[in-house]
């Protein structure tokens, strides 16, 4: 057996990224649904969708920072 080296931080980050990943998927699925049902609502929905996406992705970014810092 060869010895494995590295840090478990990255495994932790992978686990932590599941949540934001699901969140981003759900936000955009709702956005696509909304635009598909009512195409003229696109310009109203777009900023909301991207703001929600930014907030959800912030959590993944905190995980990334912690994976490198800790």
């Amino acid at each position: 057996m060869t010895e494995m080296t590295g840090t478990l931080n990255l495994v932790g980050y992978g686990l932590a990224a599941i949540g934001p990943g699901l969140a981003v998927g759900m936000i955009f699925s709702a956005y696509i649904n909304g635009v598909a049902r009512q195409p003229e609502a696109r310009s109203v929905l777009q900023p909301i969708a991207f703001l929600g996406f930014a907030m959800a992705e912030a959590l993944a970014l905190f995980g990334l920072v912690l994976a490198f810092v800790l």
Partner: protein, 262 residues
């Protein structure tokens, strides 16, 4: 550069590229001010200035191809990012948004332009500076528009919320406005450029390493290169998207600071 030489020196063992490969040595002498990213930023400023000066120099009603290219970028930022999101006062912020969008876009493109191939924003300090500028701009705009007390009151005590909720909401809002927004807007840009560049390095250097292995490994190495090329196009998409998201979020924050109710 470093990783190619380092893994060749090791012989057979493949050393995967790491975050150390982003720390480039200075080009002239021994200081920290002449590294590649700094020259790339200067190059991007020169390229953008020259392009838009030429594109707007002989403005005509029937535009030339160059003028059309310049104007469509401008119109895109003005209408889709400015007018739709900020609202009726958008014209004051179009110069900032336009500069931000083109600057980030060109600096991201450097990541896949042959011979340059280093996204400037994969060094976090550049992304931090852009985040700090946006942070200052949207708070300044909000304070100028509402006056400092009303602006702070709207942030600290969001109107239309039952009083006990403020115990939870006020710390979250303060953290959002002071820490989370400037931090995430720069980190998002940095992390995407960093991860994308690392991914390309892994596939290209891995393909090169496979080429030096046994005959079976030589046969699979073209697949690694092909995937590297495919990912380069994916990176092009990500780079445009990140420039768009940075500008969009800046516009959203400015629009939020200008809005009469938060």
């Amino acid at each position: 550069m470093r990783s190619i030489t380092s893994f060749r020196a090791e012989g057979n063992e493949f050393i995967p590229p790491s975050s150390k490969d982003f720390v480039l040595p200075p080009i002239f002498g021994e200081n920290e001010f002449t590294t590649k990213p700094i020259f790339l930023v200067l190059l991007s400023v020169v390229l953008l200035s020259v392009f838009f000066l030429i594109a707007s120099r002989k403005a005509a009603i029937v535009p030339s191809k160059l003028q059309f290219a310049g104007e469509s970028v401008y119109a895109y930022v003005r209408n889709d990012l400015g007018k739709d999101i900020i609202g009726h006062e958008f014209m004051r912020f179009v110069p900032y948004l336009f500069t931000l969008f083109t600057f980030i876009l060109v600096n991201n493109w450097f990541g896949i332009i042959p011979m340059l191939q280093f996204p400037t924003m994969s060094r976090i300090s550049f992304a931090y500076v852009l985040g700090i500028i946006t942070f200052v701009v949207f708070h300044y705009v909000g304070i100028r528009h509402h006056g400092i007390f009303k602006y702070l009151k709207d942030i600290l005590f969001m109107p239309g919320v039952p009083k006990p909720v403020y115990i939870l909401l006020t710390p979250i809002e303060v953290a959002t406005y002071l820490i989370v927004r400037p931090l995430t807007i720069s980190l998002r840009l940095f992390a995407n450029m960093f991860a994308g560049h690392l991914l390309l390095m892994i596939f290209i250097l891995g393909g090169e390493h496979l080429l030096q292995g046994a005959i079976g490994l030589k046969l699979v190495s073209p697949f690694a290169f092909a995937f590297g090329i495919a990912l380069t196009f994916f990176e092009l998409l990500v780079q445009c998207l990140q420039a768009y998201i940075f500008t969009l979020l800046t516009a959203l924050y400015i629009g939020g600071a200008l809005a009469d109710e938060h």
